[in-house]
């Protein structure tokens, strides 16, 4: 086979074509694929170094932006005499803080008192439930009843004292 004929045979490979369906689907898939980043918006080119540089630039810009924002807010607060308003001055803040501290101390004292009182009450109630109180003892009541002389309720001492008070 001559070289020309061989080349003609190779040229027949031009008949090979992708199927229409593959071409259509492939086109759609590629064109719907969103590109990573348009180079127009990159600060420098591509590659590892360039990407690192891009990242560094972005970080620096973000930091600058934050500093400007915070610095701007500081200047606004300082210059617009907001600090001079009642409620913003440092003396007022100190007094207010002292008052709040005192209030807190008082409340803490009360809470402590209530806690102790509650504990004592609990102890008393516990004792009461375990041992009956003395004034309810039937023996004591009987003794007192004897000494009260219910039959002749006149108390000489009381009469003398009343006479002394009225005369």
């Amino acid at each position: 086979m001559s070289e020309e004929k061989l080349i003609e045979k190779i040229k027949e490979l031009r008949l090979i074509k992708p199927s229409d369906e593959y071409a259509r689907i492939g086109r759609l898939a590629i064109l719907s694929h969103s590109k990573r980043l348009n180079s127009k918006w990159e600060l420098v080119g591509k590659g590892f170094f360039a990407e690192s540089l891009n990242f560094a630039f972005s970080t620096v810009f973000a930091a600058l932006f934050l500093v400007l924002m915070l610095g701007g807010a500081g200047v606004i607060l300082k210059d617009s005499s907001v600090g001079n308003l009642p409620g913003v001055g440092s003396d007022w803040i100190v007094t207010e803080a002292a008052n709040i501290t005192t209030d807190i101390d008082i409340h803490l004292g009360e809470a402590s008192y209530y806690a102790v009182a509650a504990k004592k009450t609990a102890v008393a109630l516990n004792e009461t439930s375990l041992n009956a109180p003395a004034h309810t003892s039937p023996l004591l009541i009987e003794n007192e009843a004897k000494s009260l002389q219910f039959e002749s309720p006149t108390n000489k001492n009381i009469d003398a004292l009343l006479n002394q008070a009225t005369l």
Partner: protein, 179 residues
């Protein structure tokens, strides 16, 4: 070459999707053929061709028209995609694996089948050539690239391309004669 190709490329580089669509339509058959002849399997050729165009679309900003033609740039991407896929190993070609679609332009069915068998046989035989020889033959005679364009695509000098072409034709002739 596509009409107003440079303008179309510029539009695609500016992110115009339809412009890249035109480039895709124009170059798809060439790149697909190139890949299919290298890998000899239709499904694999379709996947690798798709990957190659995806890479081209993602990196189109990097294409510099002053360097070489867009076609050469695409062939280079396709070639690297195939190399990456096989990682240095050559695809194993057998006649059973070769499955291609051809468009014989309204020829009778028997003729179309015969043409298909003949082409599949030719691809199989070309698979016995060295990878670089195969690429040069396809780019030079199937897709009509100039030696300069082929040189850019395979990263060799024009002289080297002519030498590879000569050796490839000689080898293929021997393969066909010894068949």
């Amino acid at each position: 070459m596509l009409e107003d190709e440079q303008k179309t490329i510029k539009k695609a580089q500016d992110g115009e999707v339809e412009a890249f669509g035109l480039l895709y339509e124009h170059y798809l058959p060439k790149i697909y053929r190139f890949v299919l002849i290298k890998v000899s399997q239709r499904e694999e050729a379709e996947d690798l061709t798709h990957q190659a165009f995806l890479k081209a679309w993602e990196n189109i900003e990097q294409y510099n028209p002053k360097g070489y033609s867009f076609g050469s740039w695409l062939y280079r991407i396709a070639r690297n995609t195939v190399i990456d896929h096989y990682r240095g190993e050559r695809p194993q070609v057998s006649l059973d694996d070769v499955s291609i679609d051809i468009k014989a332009g309204g020829a009778p069915l028997t003729e179309e089948i015969n043409a298909k068998i003949e082409l599949e046989r030719l691809i199989e035989l070309m698979g016995k050539l060295k990878s670089l020889e195969q690429e040069v033959l396809v780019m030079r005679f199937v897709d009509d690239l100039s030696p300069k364009e082929v040189a850019k695509a395979i990263d060799k000098s024009e002289g080297a391309v002519k030498l590879i072409q000569h050796r490839a034709l000689k080898s293929l002739k021997e393969i066909l004669e010894n068949e």
